[in-house]
């Protein structure tokens, strides 16, 4: 087996280790890939391909949220091992600001989306939960956000999205706004002025790329 074949096998195994049981398997394969001097870009791509597969298994009966969360944890650990490497910053610099509306304590959905964005190499600024409109506007301003993600999980809090979108768009009309959460759907999201509605983690990357492409 020549070096190229060996490197390809390592990357295939690394990709397959995303979502495999055991927290350390993925880190061991990242370590092995680094020792094989595989370019960081290729290692990162293998990890992203692994996450890609996981995302599409997410809304299925044999792969639950616990498996997904732990898989994303291990991917982010793997990516941490790459930070500081020479070409680790070669991913697109697309700052994304994300948060949960004021009065809403539910941040699981937001955290999952933030984790996926990070795994794909986006720079994520997480404002947390219970975030007021001014803080969203400030978050966009300070970080030059190209994307703002807003989450609400309660019908009592979701209408706050409308004001946030209005306030952000008034000052930063070029910022694309994505919303998500259990009480929403596409029609309601559009009526609030959002650029996109994300129903689940399955489609978030494709939808993000699609609205960035509309620039």
């Amino acid at each position: 087996m020549n070096d190229m074949d060996q490197q390809r096998d390592v990357l295939i195994t690394l990709k397959r280790s995303v979502g495999a049981p055991g927290a350390d398997a993925l880190k061991e394969w990242v370590d092995r890939a680094m020792k094989e001097s595989i370019p960081v870009h290729d290692i990162r791509c293998a990890l992203i391909q692994g996450v890609e597969t996981l995302r599409h298994r997410l809304m299925s009966s044999d792969f639950g949220m616990p498996d997904f969360l732990l898989s994303i944890d291990s991917v982010l650990d793997g990516l941490d091992m790459l930070s500081g490497m020479e070409d680790a910053g070669s991913m697109p610099d697309t700052p994304i600001v994300i948060g949960v509306v004021k009065g809403d304590p539910h941040d699981l959905g937001k955290n999952i989306i933030a984790g996926i964005y990070r795994a794909y190499g986006y720079r994520v600024v997480d404002l947390g939960r219970d975030v007021c409109s001014d803080a969203f506007v400030q978050g966009v301003a300070l970080n030059g956000a190209k994307i703002l993600g807003i989450s609400a999980m309660m019908s009592t809090t979701m209408s706050a999205m409308k004001d946030i979108i209005r306030d952000v768009k008034a000052k930063y009309p070029e910022t694309k706004i994505i919303v998500g959460g259990a009480p929403l759907n596409e029609v309601l999201a559009r009526s609030y002025g959002a650029d996109a509605y994300v129903e689940s983690a399955v489609s978030v990357i494709e939808q993000t790329m699609a609205i960035l492409d509309t620039d």
Partner: protein, 391 residues
């Protein structure tokens, strides 16, 4: 629904009927319920049925005069009596006034009096937030179970010391007495994994289900003991059935295998306790891709209330064909539609749903989840009217 010895049957029947309550279906032999439902169904083409007759007919999978409706107007009913969220959530007499006002104002056949999803967790000691303008919820910055060791520290509580659950046990007899034979009051209990979620936070709980399942299940055993006592007390309070919320048996929670291993056995025990009291078992799950078959296997529910299609059905036709004979389907007008649509649009959506799901009985029209608490009630009225008009 189990059979009862004749003397026991007669004494409980007389007692409940004399107290003006709908007797629990489990008091009656199956043949008697089927016979009553067949008679009602035959009469339905000639004269309107009473609410209870309509329900019995539907529950036995016979066609009533029109589908029953459960508008699931819970916190939203507080507005009819000018109560705030904290008042509704913490004062059982105010909650009873509000829910009865909702029943009188809207109609429908079923009331599900739940206050919010934190009732059980609050009584275990979880600190709470009671906002003026929104539903109460746990203070997630101060979870009761802060680490894995916390599962083992969870202690059984006595129902008499459980303020919020006790409030509901005050509320239920008031509702049962006031509603009488005009409808059914169905109790509510969050499943043990849901209760644990309120005390640990979803992200930690999900990870713990993989990394520390024994600790999670030990805590669930403690919770389940209390919940069994709680649902038995609800049944004794005169409710027709109890609804178990099992959100995590869906794509939004655990995989099917993990749910069956971790929560399934516990909710089976709770469902058995309800059935032993002769009451109906209802399941509510507003997740995506609900595992209907697993829930039927573990809880043998009479009713499943849902917001989205189950994981193994691609459309309503398949849902009706696969599960229509096994369980009464209750749903599933989506929350966003209620939030932005006109009453006319809501009625048209209900009409389609009734067309697809009501054939042969076994369907109750309802929202997929609680009616939005801050929304005007026009669309709840539309829902009830659609059941009457198109059902």
């Amino acid at each position: 629904m189990g059979r009862s010895a004749p003397t026991q049957f007669l004494s409980r029947l007389v007692k409940t009927v004399l107290s003006g309550q709908v007797p629990p279906p489990g008091l009656f032999p199956e043949w008697m319920l089927d016979g009553a439902a067949s008679l009602c169904s035959a009469r339905a083409s000639l004269t309107p049925l009473a609410n209870v007759e309509r329900l019995i007919t539907t529950l036995r999978h016979k066609e009533p005069d029109h589908v029953p409706c459960c508008p699931l107007v819970i916190s939203a009913s507080r507005r009819l009596v000018g109560a705030s969220f904290p008042e509704f959530a913490q004062d059982p007499y105010i909650a009873a006034d509000a829910l009865l006002a909702g029943f009188e104002f809207l109609g429908g056949e079923i009331i599900v009096p739940m206050l919010d999803l934190s009732v059980e967790a609050a009584d275990f000691g979880q600190s709470m937030v009671y906002p003026e303008d929104s539903t109460p919820h746990p203070d997630y910055s101060d979870p009761l179970i802060k680490d894995v060791a916390g599962y083992g520290k969870l202690r059984r509580i006595d129902l008499k010391d459980a303020r919020r659950m006790s409030n509901l046990l005050v509320l239920y007899p008031i509702l049962v007495g006031e509603v009488g034979f005009r409808g059914a009051v169905c109790g509510f209990c969050f499943g043990p994994l849901g209760v644990l979620n309120m005390m640990r936070g979803a992200e930690h709980l999900f990870r713990d289900c993989v990394n520390h399942p024994r600790e999670v299940m030990a805590a669930m055993e403690t919770i389940t003991d209390v919940l069994i006592e709680y649902v038995e007390a609800q049944c004794d309070a005169g409710v027709l059935g109890v609804t178990l919320d099992t959100l995590f048996a869906s794509w939004n929670g655990l995989s099917r295998e993990m749910w069956e291993r971790i929560e399934g056995p516990f909710v089976r025990d709770i469902a058995r306790a309800i059935r032993k009291k002769g009451c109906l078992v209802a399941v509510h799950n507003c997740g995506h891709g609900v595992y209907f078959d697993s829930q039927i296997r573990f809880m043998e529910p009479d009713i499943i209330s849902f917001a989205h299609l189950p994981d193994d059905c691609k459309d309503r036709k398949e849902l009706k064909a696969r599960y229509g004979d096994q369980v009464v389907l209750m749903g599933y007008v989506e929350t966003p539609l209620l939030s932005y649509s006109t009453p006319f649009d809501v009625m048209q959506e209900c009409r389609k749903m009734i067309h697809d799901l009501a054939d042969g009985g076994g369907f109750i029209l309802a929202p997929g989840c609680e009616y939005p608490p801050n929304l005007h009630l026009d669309n709840a009225l539309a829902l009830v009217e659609a059941a009457r008009k198109y059902g």
